[in-house]
Amino acid sequence: MTGVRLLVGTRKGAFILTADGQRRDWQVDGPHFGGWEIYHVNGSPADPNRLWASQSSGWFGQVVQRSDDGGKSWEPVGNDFAYEGEVGEHLWYDGTPRPWEFKRIWHFEPSLDDPDTVYAGAEDAALYRSTDGGKTWNELIGLRTHESGPRWQPGAGGMCLHTIILDPVNRDRIFVAISAAGAFRSDDAGDTWLPINRGLRSGQIPDEDAEVGHCVHRLAMHPSRPDTLFMQKHWDVMRTDDAGGNWREISGNLPTDFGFPIAVHAHEPETVFVVPIKSDSEHYVHDGKLRVYRSRTGGDEWEALTNGLPQSNCYVNVLRDAMAVDRLEPCGIYFGTSGGQVYGSADGGDSWTAIVRDLPPVLSVEVQALP
């Protein structure tokens, strides 16, 4: 590996941060698309120079940008995200039916082996796929038209499909998560979907263990164990070892189990990272201290990682798509905050430095290990 590239989406543009394999000295490039909300930037595992950026604004709607040179230049590609067939209705915040309405793309998940194929998760919740480099987008309609769809409801951030995980072993298997519907799995490349929420309990919905209605914030998987998923739910940190058949709580000794991101160490499948947030009504870290919590036991037992992170008067949040791990040795971990800081650790979380401090509020962070 010659280095790493961080892809940072913010409220006011995208930034690209690069460093060599030591990960000590960083170059900051940006803003790209200044003034626009960049919900997500992600790179193709099959071609690291193929990047996708979700660019949107309340004025001008959704634009998709593609780079073929690692972010040096960008070209807008297709942005026609239509709901196919009958649009249908879901539940609104007040419990009344409301038609699906496209707002933006929250997340891009590039194919593991084809640079021209990429999945896109939308608000209002739907899954799209392009197989022609982003020129056209087709909805995988079986998800939105699942019989439970009329019971899905938005979370505070909207009814967003924010997590897409492509199983590296069973190539027909896809996991997605939607706030606030829950987690779903397809075993046939996205044609049909199964809610996988058994074991989740959410006190904010009338039936605590309903099939759907859970505000799942994020899922994470280690590629060597595709049947094991970790989940940061609105409240509760959870895991499954049977591809979502059953979930169990692993919050253990966390100071609070509310939060947004969750990530798995690149080389240790039982090492998991979360950033606890005080509560859903406060949305900042507990006790004014920015602490990443690490479990080396697959959950239940957690240790606070504080070295290099502010431990007083800190009241930032870390959003669901704003934490990532690299594949270097030792594993690097990165996250961005609502205060515009991007922190990195090049030693598995033992120590942290601020790579950059004063960006706009960070919405997403991805990392690429460069060959």
Binding site: F33, G35, W36, S57, G58, W59, F60, G61, Q62, V63, P76, N79, D80, A82
Partner: protein, 98 residues
Amino acid sequence: MIRVILPAHLKNLAKVSGEIKLDVPEQPTQRLVLNALEEQYPMLRGTIRDRQSGQRRAFIRFYACEEDLSNESPDEPLPDQVIAGKEPFLIVGAMAGG
């Protein structure tokens, strides 16, 4: 020849500076001008009006000759001064956001 002025963000997206000049056949209307604009700059599709319904996006306004034409019929002929190329057709991002 119709002169069109875009808001700054859409100029950046379309990679243009200054005014855009469009040849619009027949009797120019908002719809025909936007059709010609999107034909010449396909990256603007969906950013000014909804792709499916053709409705103007909520925070977009159309001005010309010191008049707000935003709520005129899209098939109404544009003012003579715009058709004659003496005045531009302005596409404006509404003031919002503080």
